[in-house]
Amino acid sequence: MAAGSPLTQRQVSAEIAEAHRATAAAVAAGAPAPHHPPRDFAPYRSTVLRHPHRPPLPLADPDAAELHGPVFGRTDVTELDGDLTRQHPGEPLGERITVTGRVRDRRGRPVRGQLVELWQANAAGRYAHPCDRHPAPLDPNFTGAGRCLTDDDGAYRFTTVRPGAYPWRNHENAWRPAHLHFSFFGSAFTQRLVTQMYFPGDPLFPHDPILQSVTDPAARARLVAAYDPALSVPEWSLGYRWDVVLDGPAATWAEPGEAAR
């Protein structure tokens, strides 16, 4: 925690409300709804010294290496990597869940054969990370990291346990809603995405400056998975569906004679 007394939830919530009002006013005045969080979002205190003052410089470069990207294959991922409940001799504690969805680009085309990584806290809200000092129990049967490749429909699938909420030191009595961290690769490095998936109906949503850093409500809703009874396995696991759309130009984005967007 930085020097001085920590902000209260009331102060942080007021700052969040102000940022949301500013976005709503801009959209009402005709601006496009922002899809991504601003990098300068003071209610999330760690942004203060870590956001560039200048916006990224647009660079039109049809030969850019970034219009291609890293490739992963069967040497990189095994079948077991997508099941976080089978990495240790015993079963982890918690509510077993299956999370699946499709990864597409902005044109709706499936993102095939690309790496998806998942990491998370355990059911008690503790990361298997030496810097996590939250006094919740570690689970010897849960590490909380997995990966898979998308299939020909762009689908990914993980089996894991639902993570717990956990405290953090952004402000006084701050708690993160339960979330899964995800990393996605597209066919181009420009499509890279690291984000977090949330569970529907969590009462911590309005208080969390990380989720609320996405200032447009429709964009925020895209971070929340849907409970899907059809994905639940009887006597075994609860199913959640979360579809993902990667931003950024793909290698095949610009076709001859076509405008950028």
Partner: protein, 190 residues
Amino acid sequence: MEPPTPSQTVGPFYGHALPFPGGGEVAPAGHPDTVTVHGRVYDGAGEPVPDALLECWQADPGGSPAGRPGSLRRDPAAGGLTGPGGADFTGFARVATDADGHWSVRTLPPPAARPYLAVCVFARGLTRHLYTRAYLGAPPAGDPVARLPRELRATLLAHAEGDRTYRFDVHLQGGKETVFLDIRALPGPR
């Protein structure tokens, strides 16, 4: 056009999940052309950032930007991650900064037509990743970076330190702020 999934910060606790053994060893083991690219990440107060994650991506020395699998590579017996294994050049590196904000990658020189490492920066406190480039050689005439004003271009040039070593610092904010890039295939609004 589908609306994209919003970005969220990588947070502080990715260390048990994203880094992998040999994540900075892109050059095949013992390759005589190996270069070291290293530097520090600083915040707006000039303090080192000890929990940033950098990914580097580049064309291979022959000029191909197509990449190859095998960056993560598995131990076929035990199933654990072994990293790139020193055989194929995959073009991809992933390294976390240390307590001094320092990172280091050992790779093969990128081709003269694309003489840079594409660098993607993730960190706690960064709500969305940032792209920049570390040029190990001068941008060629057709590269739009060659036409940037000198003071902006300078932040993209890695400094040769001799011994096939290059220094590339990233300043997230402030007077020395690195030029971050919004790369597009075509000019015009996104």
